[in-house]
Symmetry: none
Amino acid sequence: MSETLQRRQIFRLSRERRVADIMEAAKAVFLEKGYQEALISEIAARADVVEGTIYRYFENKRDLMIKVVERWYDEMLSDFDQQLKGIRGTWNRLRFMIWKHLVTIEREPALCRLVFQELRPGPEYTSTMVFELNREYTKRTLEIIEAAMASGEFRKDVPLRVVRDLIFGCVEHHTWSYIRGIGTIDVDKTADTIAEIIYRGLAATPVRDDSDLATRLERAVERLEKLNPPEA
Amino acid sequence: MSETLQRRQIFRLSRERRVADIMEAAKAVFLEKGYQEALISEIAARADVVEGTIYRYFENKRDLMIKVVERWYDEMLSDFDQQLKGIRGTWNRLRFMIWKHLVTIEREPALCRLVFQELRPGPEYTSTMVFELNREYTKRTLEIIEAAMASGEFRKDVPLRVVRDLIFGCVEHHTWSYIRGIGTIDVDKTADTIAEIIYRGLAATPVRDDSDLATRLERAVERLEKLNPPEA
Amino acid sequence: MSETLQRRQIFRLSRERRVADIMEAAKAVFLEKGYQEALISEIAARADVVEGTIYRYFENKRDLMIKVVERWYDEMLSDFDQQLKGIRGTWNRLRFMIWKHLVTIEREPALCRLVFQELRPGPEYTSTMVFELNREYTKRTLEIIEAAMASGEFRKDVPLRVVRDLIFGCVEHHTWSYIRGIGTIDVDKTADTIAEIIYRGLAATPVRDDSDLATRLERAVERLEKLNPPEA
Amino acid sequence: MSETLQRRQIFRLSRERRVADIMEAAKAVFLEKGYQEALISEIAARADVVEGTIYRYFENKRDLMIKVVERWYDEMLSDFDQQLKGIRGTWNRLRFMIWKHLVTIEREPALCRLVFQELRPGPEYTSTMVFELNREYTKRTLEIIEAAMASGEFRKDVPLRVVRDLIFGCVEHHTWSYIRGIGTIDVDKTADTIAEIIYRGLAATPVRDDSDLATRLERAVERLEKLNPPEA
DNA sequence: GATGAATGAGAATTCATTCAT
DNA sequence: GATGAATGAATTCTCATTCAT
């Protein structure tokens, strides 16, 4: 009661350092509380700054949230294109895209929840980096399909949009409860299953059976391809 | 405004009638504004009652929203089982379930948005009639799959959960922008496409076979050749 | 949902019976919840009438509470005067008044709480039967003191008001936590102690010691008096 | 009202000053209206801040009330211990404690009313500074009694709790109507009287003795005679 | 650049009481 | 006499954002 209230020591940190501190604190609070429940005051307290300082670096609460999600999303997906280049075969490449999406969700369910429930429904979503990255990711996925259609591996009479919806819709629906904190997901098995169904569903040449000679050879080749990537 | 000091003319209506009036007004306001933006005062004004009257029939704003959604959902899905009984064949039955879901969204996108964005994320969702009805709907859908597996029409090595996620995830992902009020959906064509891909994806006996062994082996070899090009 | 809402069977009961039902229900609810928290709707439900009916018999919630307390208070204190007549000796009579007060509190702490915390602080208290009965009770108590002063047993230089405050203040302070539902009270012992201190405090002739001859004789006589009450 | 659309002129005061302003305003409003009737909006208006500002410094209305009472209580009782040290003799010390209590009530009856009627009945009372201070005050009072018992000045067969209840119960009962704004109290005289009665009530050696054995025996006999009258 | 005090609009909810039926 | 639907005033507390210092 006597003299506990003394002026906070003011540290002048570099802009980058301040921004990083705030984003880290914001990430933690957003993940714990969700967007609505998160308080600017708590973020400020955890970042060891006052509320006003946050507004020097971020326009408003929503902007802060978007920036937090964007940075993470970027880190998460930055390398997928590089990795994809090392994979050969429609099935493998398709499976990789599904697997990557699942892994992303598995690693950061709370952030994905933020994206799905807070960021995506908002009106500014399309002007977001997250939107851009998703678009890129979707584009790559559909390129795999297009290539397979061009080569005759897949039927050509299927709208790409629906394929996109099958893939991403299924993954999101599947991880729904995991994202809410209930249960677990088996990333590898699920990726296999989804890839298999969609592959078969689109295949021009029916995938008769796993014991089928041609199939087995094709899979063997695909595995070979993965082991010896051409340029990587 | 002219006579603020006198008691509003009291009309005594039956419970049913009042409830119906309030729910109608609430539905309109919720669909126009969304849950958060909807004001109890506006609902009351439109239903021509005072705010307190709403609280005689509904516990709170959220309860009101849930009741509104539930009633509509019930009406919407009440007959699907009856209709399904008249349809034969796995493909047709599967397509019907997908089609029904699409039609529901097409007819009431704003209500679906309420369900997807407001009701489902909430903690009380699982104790909701909407949850029950969805569960029922999903059960019927998977029964079609199970029957086809039992009869040998579908492969047996696919987890039902993933099939469920493919179907409903795809439909929801596909209607995403329509629900936000952007664009249109072609219910029939989409139902066809989704049903077709999933059917083929699960079929035990390949649907068609327009590729011969030799062709496939050649393609595999070509890919192998590309992998280890002569000049490397 | 089908037909549970049917018109309540209307029983026409005598006025007395209705009032009794409502008061009983009200007493229960007031004691459980306190005045503020008690709901007219709950009282109505327990009495098996609708809210409106309560207002036919009682002016308002406060009036109902007062009536409930009054009836009980009346029952509780109705016989004290009769009992007092059977008791002889200043000490014994004083002790009886204290004991009676303590017993009242011990038997109905929740009702006393209502009186002390809700009824007494209100502005209408003095026009209440409870006030009248208390006044009566206080009057009898002070008559004992006055008589003892007149006979020379007590000093005459003590304001009666202070004696009143000592007696009732002490009892209420002593039972404070018991009334809040904490702990117990030993009515007999406490009555003895309080009576003894006040008696000695007021005694003209000092109460020297318990071994003092006169005191012992007086006490013996008092016990004799109690054993053979004149008219009871 | 003339300029509702522009931001109120902001005056930045130190935390201490603002808190002091708010507490002063709150004290005034609580004393005038009582806790229930007091409006945060009125307190804000009097302190010349907006309502939100109050919530920056106080958790809620109740917290504000408690803080207001605590500060005053602390000021009021802070010096009693010091003063007590200067007083010698059981009677004098006892009288001082009673007198101090009476003076406190006389000076701030409205605040006492707040304590007795709002603060003390609440569930958080025991975690309050007021509770602590009262406990301290009571302890000091009983130490006087204990010392007198130890020295043989007072009888040892009286439970301290009852002595505490006599003192504080009597004072509170005595000031009851003054606290409600009716009448006056004569602090000095009342303190004398209460101290005297309690002192005599507890004294081991009788204070005075102006009545002889013969008289007392005669009185006892008279009473016996009345009890069994010759004609019965 | 940092501070942190101050803003201020809101908006759901309660429940005693009334009175048309 | 009983019903019970309807009234409606009234008030706390939140917290993102601003801006004087």
